[in-house]
């Protein structure tokens, strides 16, 4: 059963457990590959996570002159291959979300690979496994369809009416803040 990463931004409490957990994936050399941002720290405590969205047609891979960035059949965009990466950092500039990180010492790009070490065996990625708030969820396509139905969402999952805020389609789906709009109160 194909599953995908789904991010419900408004659930985030900023605990950064996803960052800590990222280091625990077998293929991650104990370095985290994702981000959590304070949205408006002088005002409130809203935070949002950002991990690689695993674009269907990823700019990082397209920009790579060495074809070092592989895409798996499940759609996971992997870290640069050690033997191919030339350390040009094109990918870090090309990515619209600022995801790829660069290891100066190894002259090597590394990024979220959707815990391919785990997900290829049907085990959820570390970040979604530990996320205490279900901001990060590992869900089936049926579950995504239910969410889209409930929130009347477009191709890109968002709480507003269908629109396409980003150019490209991504394998990771995001629900922007405002998820509770339209929830029917029990009483």
């Amino acid at each position: 059963m194909k599953k995908l990463l789904y991010i419900e931004m408004d659930n985030c409490i900023g605990c950064r457990s996803c960052l800590a957990a990222c280091t625990q994936c077998g293929g991650h050399d104990e370095r985290n590959r994702n981000y959590v941002y304070d949205v408006n720290p002088l005002v409130d405590r809203q935070t949002i996570p950002l991990m690689c969205l695993h674009c269907v047609n990823p700019a990082c891979a397209r920009s790579c002159p060495a074809q070092a960035i592989q895409i798996t059949e499940e759609g996971a965009v992997l870290s640069a291959l050690v033997e191919k990466c030339i350390g040009c950092q094109n990918c870090t500039i090309a990515c619209p979300y600022g995801i790829p990180k660069f290891d100066e010492e190894q002259n090597l790009m590394y990024k979220c690979d959707l815990c391919y070490d785990r997900t290829k065996e049907g085990i959820p990625p570390m970040c979604a496994s530990v996320c205490p708030t279900n901001t990060l969820q590992w869900i089936t396509e049926e579950e995504l369809a239910e969410k889209q139905e409930r929130h009347r969402l477009g191709k890109w999952v968002s709480s507003h009416q269908p629109f396409e805020p980003l150019e490209g389609e991504t394998n990771v789906k995001i629900s922007l803040p405002g998820i509770l709009q339209g929830v029917q109160k029990l009483f």
């Binding site: 409490i13 457990s17 077998g26 409130d44 405590r45 049907g122 708030t133 509770l180």
Partner: protein
């Protein structure tokens, strides 16, 4: 049992040359399930893997949980006993030398015997904690009363759960932290959460909290700060710190007035309604608003939602409990459920969010100054007789009740207590009024500290004994639901470190009390004696065998015998534990905090946790990820208040009270009241906000008022700022 919508059947990732040891986190009362990854070549813990099948937390962990494994083989671990011969170096890291266990035990036994010969048995004290297994907690109580034969034992639960315990005992006649399992939370229709920064202190509750709202239910949060959970609340009651009792009385008043009281329930199962109704009458929304600073409309709306909700759960934590009227606050918020009959059934009830890993179990089995195993009372001759039979002593030999944790410091100052055995606690950071506490610790004639890191408190000790982390021993812990769970051993003790229960057994031998302890040579043998000692008490663990815990994903106490599967839901028969079988609706007049703001100290200082640290920070400040995320304390100030003081974000300011001063960076944020400032308490030395807090104690629970005192801020001249850094 207790399956829910979050169930996942995932085994977890298994790496080659590794085994997974299922256990729970070392930190808070959530006790999240986790698997420790153990390298099978070196037999050492190397990581963590989610435990997806644990029914309470479903693999979820906060950043403390994810990195908890890094404690075990940490470079700062104490590997050998330490002795300090030069007492003038007390209060510093200096002067310690490594010693053998024999030398350390001999020195402790000699000094303890000398002190007791000269000043009497009660000159020694034990200061303990509840971040350890029930077996260790149980044996610590026995070690104090049978091994050391002293009446003075108390524990850091006085800084944590004592008010919840006192309040529940008064309301229900029994103190089980939650009347229902955590797996009910997401199914209720209204969560009323007071004084709990749940998102940071019990993060793995949050997926259930948000689910209430996803289902169309309501979230009401009572907190002076707009915490990450308050940010999304349907109603945020942003009260002044220390005014909960007025707010709770107002809720009860409005519930009655709105016709939401369940008079049949009140008549059949409770007492005290009429007196309470009389007391709460004055707490109109307008009058309550004057005291609490919360807008009347919000109070009205909150009471309306709670009253209309078919099911509702009232939850609270240290915010309401760490006050000079903490026990009253607990009973007053509990009144909301009793008056509306929203208790004693699924999806409705009362729960406190237990702070420490074993804050529940650790308070039940005889570490508290007046309690014996099974929640028995030292003042009840029948209870004393029952425990004496297990311990093999006569009732005449049983020491009298002692005093509470902070009061022990006062007895140290008076030289009534001259020696202390400290374990599993770090009062040099976590106690209030630290200038006083630290000077008292320094003046002790002889102090022993058992810990796995050299804590700030260990720096006051003459002898430091290396104990083990949670992952190097086995035993049970009782989580915040009242569910007894099993901690499993994943690695042999590092260096020469030993589990606390073994240290007690060996030390008792040196003190000539070996006959009472010698038969306890494994954690499982301690467990068997402990279950027996609890048998017949309110907190009866006799039927909670390790095998049963494993088989049914934990056992909720009371669990009286082999056939008993435990008690997930309390009061289902609506029988309470008072002699009349009724719950007590408590009539509680309002009283202000011990130290109200004044012209000289116009701000209210409140303290609390951040998500990255646990208690005094002795563990979490050593974990690189957690330290990097929040390396130092800060003072949170509303922008308007900052403007009034002419201070800017990130500027270092002097924050002071009648008891001390600290220098903190300012964190400007709109998510706090204008009359309130907040500082996290996890830090040592001159960074400890407890240098400023007040040691005013709740008369019932003896809990200090960490959550409110009067403070003032001044700007710091540039030169002084440099010096402070």
């Amino acid at each position: 049992m207790l399956k829910d919508k979050f169930q996942q059947n995932i085994a977890g990732k298994h790496h080659p040359k590794e085994k997974l040891v299922k256990t729970h986190c070392s930190y808070c009362g959530m006790q999240c399930g986790m698997n420790l990854r153990v390298d099978t070549d070196s037999n050492t813990i190397i990581g963590v893997e989610p435990r997806y099948d644990w029914p309470v937390t479903r693999g979820k962990m906060c950043p403390k949980g994810v990195t908890a494994y890094q404690q075990t083989n940490h470079q700062d671990r104490l590997l050998k006993p330490l002795i300090r011969d030069d007492a003038s170096k007390k209060g510093t890291k200096e002067g310690f030398r490594e010693a053998s266990w024999d030398e350390a035990y001999d020195l402790i036994a000699r000094r303890f015997k000398e002190l007791q010969a000269e000043y009497g048995k009660d000159t020694l004290s034990v200061f303990s904690g509840v971040s350890m297994t029930n077996e260790k907690c149980y044996l610590t109580g026995k070690f104090a009363r049978v091994g050391l034969q002293t009446r003075y034992i108390d524990y850091n639960g006085r800084f944590c759960m004592a008010s919840a315990a006192a309040g529940f005992l008064r309301s229900f006649g029994i103190d089980r932290g939650s009347t229902l399992p955590w797996t009910d939370i997401h199914q209720t229709d209204c969560l009323f959460i007071a004084g709990s920064n749940t998102a940071e202190c019990h993060p793995t509750s949050m997926f259930r909290v948000w689910e209430v709202q996803n289902r169309g239910g309501y979230l009401i949060v009572v907190d002076p700060r707009e915490t990450p959970i308050a940010r999304r609340a349907d109603v945020h009651l942003d009260l002044r710190p220390g005014t909960d009792l007025a707010l709770a009385n107002c809720m009860v008043n409005l519930l009655i007035q709105n016709g939401h009281a369940d008079h049949e329930y009140i008549a059949n199962y409770t007492s005290g309604f009429e007196e309470t109704q009389e007391i709460v009458k004055v707490f109109t929304p307008e009058y309550t608003s004057e005291i609490t600073g919360v807008a009347p409309e919000k109070l009205i709306r909150a009471a309306e939602i709670f009253g209309k909700a078919p099911n509702a759960i009232v939850m609270f934590a240290r915010g309401i409990e760490q006050q000079v009227k903490g026990a009253d606050n607990v009973s007053a918020y509990t009144n909301m459920c009793l008056v509306t009959g929203k208790i004693g059934r699924p999806k409705s009830g009362v729960a406190t969010l237990t702070g420490q890993g074993n804050g529940q179990g650790g308070r039940e089995h005889g570490q508290k100054s007046d309690l014996l195993p099974g929640y028995r009372k030292l003042t009840n001759p029948k209870h004393v007789q029952e425990v004496c039979e297990v311990w093999g002593i006569t009732p005449e030999e049983m020491p009298l009740p002692g005093v509470s944790a902070f009061e022990m410091f006062e007895l140290m100052e008076q030289k009534t207590i001259r020696g202390m055995y400290l374990l599993c606690s770090n009062p040099a950071v976590s106690a209030p009024h630290l200038n006083y506490v630290r000077s008292v610790l320094k003046d002790l004639d002889f102090m022993v500290c058992a810990d796995f890191f050299l804590s700030e408190s260990a720096e006051f000790a003459d002898v430091v004994l290396p104990s083990v982390t949670w992952s190097e021993d086995e035993g049970t812990v009782t989580n915040l639901e009242g569910r007894i769970i099993k901690i499993n051993k994943a690695q042999e003790p590092l260096g020469e470190s030993k589990p606390d229960w073994l240290i007690h057994v060996e030390l008792a031998e040196r003190l000539g009390r070996g006959d009472y302890f010698r038969h306890l040579q494994t954690a499982s043998q301690v467990a068997d004696e402990f279950r027996l000692a609890s048998k017949g008490g309110y907190a009866d663990y006799y039927g909670a065998t390790w095998d049963k815990i494993d088989r049914q994903d934990g056992v909720f106490w009371p669990c009286k015998d082999e056939a008993d599967t435990g008690t997930p839901y309390m009061f289902e028969d609506h029988k309470y534990f008072h002699p009349d079988g009724r719950a007590k609706i408590c009539a509680l007049p309002y009283r202000p905090s011990a130290e109200e703001p004044c012209e000289e100290y116009p701000l209210r200082l409140t303290t609390g946790r951040v998500v990255y640290h646990y208690l005094s920070g002795n563990q979490t400040r050593r974990i690189p990820f957690l330290r990097d995320m929040c390396p130092e304390p800060y003072v949170e100030v509303h922008p308007e208040t900052a403007q009034q003081y002419g201070i800017a974000h990130d500027e270092v300011v002097r924050l002071f009270t009648r008891r001390g001063e600290c220098f903190y960076k300012v964190k400007v944020i709109e998510a706090i009241r204008k009359d309130t400032v907040f500082v996290p308490y996890h830090y040592g030395y001159e960074q400890s906000v407890n240098l400023l807090t007040i040691a005013a104690l709740d008369p019932m629970s003896r809990m200090p008022e960490f959550k409110v005192c009067a403070a003032q801020i001044t700007k710091v001249p540039a030169a002084a700022k440099e010096a402070a850094r």
